[in-house]
Symmetry: C2
Subunit: 347 residues, 2 copies
DNA sequence: CACCATTTGTCAATCGGTTGCCAAGCTCTG
DNA sequence: CAGAGCTTGGCAACCGATTGACAAATGGTG
């Protein structure tokens, strides 16, 4: 099988298009002596051509190693066979499972997935969506920083589905905050906590929803609640918040996500602060590392994978992606070691 | 701002193409009274048209909100402005930073990134690459399961760069195994270990390279070495291996990656096995959760982000992506709590 | 056997850009 | 002021598919 052209010096190898370029439907048509349009129909419109003809064409296509050129196809049809997922931060483990869920559904249906990161910037998110729109059949926006009206305007161009946050004008797939936060507050209340700090992200929609609800549920139970804002939803952001948490005097903390909780745990450990003796911590999402931490993290398990799959299914289904439906998935409390009764100092 | 068409029942809203479709260069041409080809040149060939003309065209384009249609452009040029990254498992944190590095470089150069997962299957990887090829200008394959010859054959179609594993026929970007594993073995040797188990993945290229080298370095130092194969490079795979690790009687373990190491740590903790007293563990990659584990994981820090950026740079640069260059990046040992001298049982 | 209804394949336009070639218009020089 | 040389814009072909309209072929019926 040795290639017999090692003397390639004077060959037109420089440009990418080598002589034996990809076969097209014209090549197939010529080979079987039919019109290209017949080839196109044989390959894509079942029943539109004679079974024998179709078979002959398929055989020729297989022999030539033909593959449809998605770019060429998208021009007349306006359909690209591609979806994009737009998220604030690729490296946040929360998004991995979500991406995977979306990717698997897309691929199973023959679609390709473009992934794009917005670095948690609204401007960049807008720019990204606009740039991507001509190349895709729809978009999945995760934890968007854009206002509902902006998203609604963009969605007039191509369908958009919101994942992990709620956009009233769009179909959205979100975890059941009421269910999850109720369980978390009940848990703290049962343990005897009388105060809680919510470690949040400030003024973005997804964060507002959580804090408002937390406040409601806490006061209903006679628990005092304060909000402490972190700079970023990351380990570093959580670590930075330790001083303020301690200063606040609360006995329990509800973190915006597990990364923030992890940061708090790590800062506590390296600062010699005993957890959960000094204060309890509840995370959000249940990323894979939650159970690996010390102490293992009590957290709200978000059905990330399913959020991704359901969101992508909604996007693919033209029936549903236009109406602002809302899919709410269960959010369960997973109790591990980072929560305990307050003021039971072991030393 | 209330939309005045709630009575949409008889309107042609069903089909996606609404009346006010995207503007094209023909619209711009008409608006300024010039030929579409002039518009195309004004927008893309700096200096090819009169400055005044260009300005007029740009103004019209901006006013119309024109955006080039990537699909239409790719047809005559054969260039898509898109790259794909193909990896075995999206949810492995190892790949996050790598993806992010690649994505940032791609975006900074105006390219779009497609992400595709192969579920660690060679067949699926081949299928994926072939499917994606017509849609992209090149591919980044991470920890490929394909043989070098297969990759070389595929690379004749579109450029391919290998990341995190070495493919002799392709440009590759890899961590410096010799540097890293030497440091790891020196560390174990200094601590006084006389035996080590390598927790590997079996017969794939990236794993072979590590095990062969580990074996060399161990024997040179008079350390006995055995290979223990895990089913999957995951937390579950690592947890499963605990029994075999204990049975082997080694005092130290080198894991294929941090996920496997994490699994081992977790299984040990829940099984009441004290670490690092019973045996030391060294991971690979230094994913973000390594320092969060208990005990915090000693590991080889792989420059994931930089692997991603360098690989994407190589892919973008037509000078380099054809020659099988090899970029080797430093792999450093990060000592934390999971390694200690052997047989110093604290109890 | 004439005629109509289906099936099946062909023609040609189209999607939205890019680009080689050509010609008109301009400037500059001798 | 004629001619060379350069700049600038226009024409038309082309990339690889899809699809509406139509015609040829086929089969069935009275």
């Amino acid at each position: 099988m040795s290639r017999d052209e090692p003397n390639a010096s004077d060959e037109p190898v420089a440009t990418e298009g080598r002589a034996g370029r990809r076969p097209t439907i014209y090549d197939i048509a010529q080979k079987v002596g039919l019109n290209p349009s017949t080839v196109s129909r044989a390959l894509n419109k079942p029943g539109r051509t004679n079974a024998a003809t179709e078979e002959k064409i398929r055989a020729a296509a297989a022999e030539l190693g033909y593959r449809v050129n998605p770019m060429a196809r998208s021009l007349p049809t306006g359909l690209t066979g591609t979806f994009a997922i737009v998220l604030p931060d690729i490296t946040n483990p929360v998004h991995f499972e979500l991406i995977r869920g979306a990717e698997q559904v897309a691929r199973a249906s023959g679609f390709t997935l473009i992934v794009s990161e917005t670095e948690a910037s609204a401007d960049l998110e807008l720019e990204t969506i606009e740039t991507l729109q001509p190349s895709v059949d729809g978009l999945l926006v995760v934890a968007s920083r854009l206002a509902d009206e902006e998203l609604a305007a963009l969605a007039r161009e191509k369908p958009i589905v919101a994942a992990n946050h709620s956009a009233p004008s769009l179909p959205s797939v979100i975890p059941d905050l009421v269910m999850g936060l109720t369980a978390a507050m009940d848990h703290l209340h049962d343990l005897g906590h009388g105060s809680v700090a919510y470690l949040g992200l400030g003024d973005i929609q997804i964060n507002r929803a959580r804090w408002d609800l937390t406040l409601d549920l806490a006061t209903t139970r006679g628990i005092s609640a304060v909000e402490i804002t972190v700079d970023a939803p990351t380990v570093a952001g959580g670590a930075d918040a330790l001083r303020r948490v301690r200063a606040s005097g609360v006995t329990a903390v509800l973190a915006y996500n597990d990364l923030v909780a992890h940061g708090l745990l790590r800062a506590a450990r390296s600062g010699g602060v005993q957890l959960p003796e000094s204060f309890s911590v509840i995370g959000f999402d249940d990323i894979f590392s939650a159970e690996l931490a010390a102490p293992a993290l009590t957290t709200l398990r978000s059905p990330l994978r399913e959020i991704g799959t359901r969101a992508m299914q909604t996007l693919i289904d033209p029936e549903r992606n236009r109406v602002p439906s809302k899919v709410v998935l269960p959010l369960e409390l997973v109790v591990r070691e980072s929560t305990a009764a307050p003021s039971v100092r072991t030393r």
